[in-house]
């Protein structure tokens, strides 16, 4: 079993810190080395689906994860009644609309199809991006819980299809445009400069989209885990690798843990009130 020896101190050889992520990225190797230099033993659990790392963390299969933004975490906490907490921020990745055929949103003819990620949070975020440039209109003005079913067809210019986030980039030849997550830009050879629309990471409303290290509530003050956050935030070499993996879209942002937690609480409240 992957649990290690729970008697031994967390981060020791016998009980390495298990970090869950969904990014098959080389920077994690660098991170493991950096942690080792500080005497912390780390194991990376690479999971394929956004759905996996949170339940695994709460069940104790993991000690910490890093793949999501606050918005996603809030949605998860509310949906599953969990109480996972962010302890450090990494970056905000603007979500962009890309196209092979059209150079601007205005050029996209009416009735064309746009693909967006199909997971709940990115789907909503992508829809908000599309709404912000007038391609669709959402019920009740849209929210972080909107889905393709909330599109008001009569008032929208395009059809929207939700596909797996990993398919969006590959779908570009089929459609007028695709909303593509940072994770898939670099490897698909698309530059973030090419986005014909994107949300603005500096907008205060983008705060919930800051990516975070997440732990179980009672580990919020765990020194070893907090030390890992410091290592991540403090090493330029590592950040360069992360940036490379993100196709240049990352906007590194360091936000204190209590602000992150406050933001989480706020978003959760908002979600609860919507239900």
């Amino acid at each position: 079993a992957g649990g290690g020896d729970s008697e031994a101190a967390l981060g020791s050889e016998d009980n390495p810190v298990r970090i869950g992520t969904t990014d098959p990225a080389d920077y994690w190797d660098t991170f493991v080395d950096l942690a080792a230099e500080e005497g912390i033993s780390v194991e990376i659990e690479l999971l394929a689906e956004y759905t996996e790392p949170n339940p695994a963390l709460s069940e104790g299969d993991l000690d910490i994860n890093q793949f999501q933004h606050i918005q996603y975490l809030a949605d998860y906490n509310v949906a599953s009644g969990d109480d996972l907490q962010p302890i450090g921020s990494t970056a905000i990745y603007p979500l962009g609309l890309y196209s092979q055929q059209y150079d601007s949103v205005e050029d996209i003819p009416d009735g064309e199809t746009i693909v967006i990620p199909n997971d709940v949070v990115n789907q909503a975020r992508a829809l908000l991006v599309l709404q912000s440039v007038g391609l669709v209109t959402l019920e009740d003005g849209g929210s972080t819980a909107s889905s393709v079913q909330d599109i008001i067809e009569d008032e929208s210019r395009v059809e929207v299809t939700a596909v797996d986030a990993s398919i969006t980039a590959g779908s570009l030849p089929d459609v007028a445009g695709a909303v593509i997550n940072n994770n898939f830009l670099g490897s698909a050879g698309i530059s973030s400069q090419d986005a014909i629309a994107a949300d603005d990471p500096s907008d205060p409303s983008a705060l919930p989209y800051v990516n975070v290290f997440v732990v179980r509530a009672d580990d919020v003050d765990n020194e070893v885990l907090n030390q890992l956050v410091d290592i991540y935030q403090g090493n330029q070499e590592l950040l360069d690798e992360v940036q490379e993996f993100a196709g240049g879209t990352a906007v590194f942002t360091v936000i204190p843990a209590d602000e992150l937690q406050a933001s989480l609480a706020e978003v959760q409240e908002q979600i609860e009130s919507q239900q």
Binding site: E49, T51, S80, N118, T161
Partner: protein, 223 residues
């Protein structure tokens, strides 16, 4: 408890719709994949050494082809097939592409099932047919396939259930149906009611399909 009932009531229309989509998707891919599998599987059987149309080279090529397609993870297979789908269907997304991909993947899976069932046919009856001067093609059509009909029904039932499972992967390229719905709106949104109500329908459909298959096979096998 009341909440649950309410939520289910709200879900009902969607579930109905998705059930329809699943049935359509499975039916059409079963039609194409089933025919394709029948063709390829029968070809495998008749071209093998000792078969009624023994053709070692043809067998080798077909066998290798089936072995090449079958193990490709379905997700990758769908994506690898997208260029072909674009050429054939004009798009790489949507329900038709799903049907297209499942049909092709099913062709090769079903081919093996068909091949296996044909191998169990008593060589004596094939010989009796050969003795009448029947052509290989006629023997395939009037002896080999009918003699294997009972097991084939069970094989196709097996395949149908596998197709229902495959169709849920549809969600990655924007397909719909119960499986995709369970994944997108249940599993990925941590909503167990959606997940399990969609699954419950899938399971009921499966019970019906398997029950029908068992019943038919029993009638045909008569034992």
């Amino acid at each position: 408890m009341n909440d649950l009932v309410e939520q289910l009531q709200e879900l009902l229309p969607t579930l109905f719709e998705q059930t329809g989509i699943t049935l359509w998707l499975v039916a059409v891919s079963l039609l194409f994949g089933g025919l394709g599998g029948l063709l390829v599987g029968t070809a495998l059987y008749v071209t093998r050494r000792g078969g009624v149309l023994a053709q070692p080279v043809a067998f080798w090529v077909l066998n290798a082809l089936v072995n090449t397609i079958r193990p490709i993870p379905f997700i990758i297979f769908i994506v690898a097939l997208q260029p072909v789908a674009r050429a054939v269907l004009g798009t790489g997304l949507g329900t038709n592409v799903i049907i297209f991909s499942i049909s092709i993947a099913a062709t090769f899976g079903i081919a093996r099932i068909v091949e296996q069932n044909l191998i169990s046919v008593d060589p004596g009856v094939i010989e009796a047919a050969r003795a009448t001067g029947a052509s290989p093609w006629r023997i395939i059509r009037t002896v080999i396939l009918p003699e294997a009909f009972g097991p084939l029904i069970l094989g196709y039932t097996f395949a149908t259930v596998a197709l229902i499972d495959m169709s849920s992967v549809a969600s990655i390229i924007g397909g719909e149906g119960l499986g995709a719905y369970a994944l997108d709106y249940g599993y990925r949104r941590f909503d167990p009611v959606v997940t399990w109500s969609a699954l419950a329908i899938i399971i009921v459909v499966t019970q019906l399909v398997q029950g029908l298959g068992n019943w038919l096979a029993r009638r045909i096998l008569r034992h």
